[in-house]
Symmetry: C2
Subunit: 307 residues, 2 copies
């Protein structure tokens, strides 16, 4: 999409404010502060720009959680960013976004991911092309219908002002995107996902991205508050560690954002702060029938209409 | 390379015998048996064939270790197998190999990887094309010069009969291959690596692959025997868990064998048995100067002429 008016400064300000609101909320919920790590790409790099990484490790609520802002400029759009629009490959670009993954310690509190982003592919002879992307998805270990319904309903409500087609499209896109082909298994319960979005023009597409970013705390915090005091066992921690292995597999083998970051010479520690703190792999493990662990696979790790 | 005589049955028998010798040795060293898991691809799959997975978990010596044999047929060579020879992409193929990764419990015993493999790209109008590949490499947590020299010298000795150029070429290839670009860091101490190898003709190329496979126990077992009784602390176990994260990153983001397996619809559990049992990620962690952990980075995680 080309547009007379692309206001990337306003997008940047929104993203920085969103990061601050989210971090402040989780510092309050956790009781421990997030580390603040500002970084810049070296001046001689192909890529300019920088970011602000906020991270907590060994917190009370969060065993590991990162909320990153980044704003980078590059000379050549890498293949992971143009899979669906090969005609843009090789253009200069500007990319900014907020991306978070929170890994709670208590296995009854789901892991969550949220990302909102804005891309500009620089024209030389042609005009600039921009698009928005974003979404959020929930990955529980011991799931409940109540949490699944609440998370999806909040996403649906956030998208409603932008057309009745948006939530079904982005819910389906999320189910398709967060799917581990090599396991024939979804990563979690899904949520919403969109990319290459510009069809409403700059103002309304930006508003839709904001609606998703702003809905995150409403979608996730009530679940945290409901589940954080649930007692848990060492066996439940081991199931959590095992399931976190799927998260690692998804992010390192399949995730477009991770591959974009690593391919474009991004800052590795900031990209990989999405990985869980403690993970286990076990050979060909399956939960015994009738257990709460089996229930996750049987009832929740299937695309369902939760909203 | 095309050849009048490609004896894939003899290669298969060698590989199965090698797997048996290695497993028998580690069952003796560990005191616990390896599980035996034979698998077949379903008949309606694009891919035929099967394999034999031998795996140990929670052993005395090995916290997790897998020695896999596989022999698969496919209708279309995936891109990961033909990166260097795009003219073969899309051909039918036959691939067989033995691949192992052993993750000892004691952080003073290095992790090791070895793989030997044989490929045939099926001709239709043209003759079949074959090649061998293989290698082994060592990934210590608390390294010693003695072990590094022994491992590399054993690889060098094994390759000597096949020409003086082979060891330097394959040592360098290994250093280049097992390198984490996104960390600017080698995976470990290296060893040898070769691929697309046919330049000595079928008989001698096969003999060279056997020499590498046969050298594995000589290269690794003396290191195990020297280090397995070294006392270790919980802090050393945590460093091991942290460094194992690099192993996961390499195998899931970069390893050609892993990507080939996942892309060609291979058996996921058998491919991912290379992943370590317990892993940790920590944000932007660096060892304090002067510690044994810093010594690993300063003295060992650099390509050096160890042999």
């Amino acid at each position: 999409m080309t547009d007379a008016f692309i206001d990337s400064q306003t997008v940047r300000e929104y993203l920085l404010g969103l990061q601050e609101r989210i971090v402040a909320t989780f510092e309050r919920l956790d009781g421990q502060p997030f580390l603040r790590d500002a970084w810049e790409k070296p001046a001689d790099s192909v890529l300019g720009g920088g970011g602000l990484t906020r991270i907590i490790e060994d917190g009370n609520l969060l065993e590991r959680g990162g909320v990153g802002f980044s704003h980078v400029l590059g000379s050549t759009l890498p293949p992971s960013a143009t899979a669906q629009r090969p005609e843009l490959a090789g253009r200069g670009f500007e990319a900014m976004g907020v991306s978070l993954v929170l890994h709670p310690r208590n296995p009854h509190v789901p892991t969550v991911h949220m990302n909102v982003r804005f891309f500009i592919a620089k024209g030389e002879a042609q005009p600039d092309v921009y698009w928005f992307g974003g979404g959020m998805d929930l990955t529980p270990y011991y799931a409940t219908e109540e949490d699944a319904r609440h998370f999806h309903a909040t996403c649906k409500r956030a998208l409603a002002p932008f057309g009745a087609d948006k939530h079904p499209r982005f819910k389906k896109w999320c189910d398709e995107y967060f799917f581990l082909k090599h396991r024939n298994e979804p990563r979690g319960l899904g949520g919403v996902f969109f990319d290459d979005f510009h069809e409403l023009g700059f103002e309304q597409s930006f508003a839709m991205m904001r609606a998703v970013g702003d809905a995150f705390l409403d979608a996730y915090v009530p679940i945290v508050e409901r589940r954080r005091a649930t007692p848990y066992t060492e066996a439940e921690r081991r199931f959590q560690a095992y399931r976190r292995g799927r998260y690692v597999e998804f992010n390192l083998v399949l995730d477009r954002g991770t591959l974009f970051g690593l391919q474009s010479g991004g800052r590795t520690e900031s990209i990989l702060m999405s990985l869980p703190p403690k993970v286990e792999w076990r050979y060909d493990w399956h939960p015994a029938a009738g257990t709460p662990e089996a229930r996750l696979y049987d009832e929740f790790l299937k695309p369902r209409d939760w909203a």
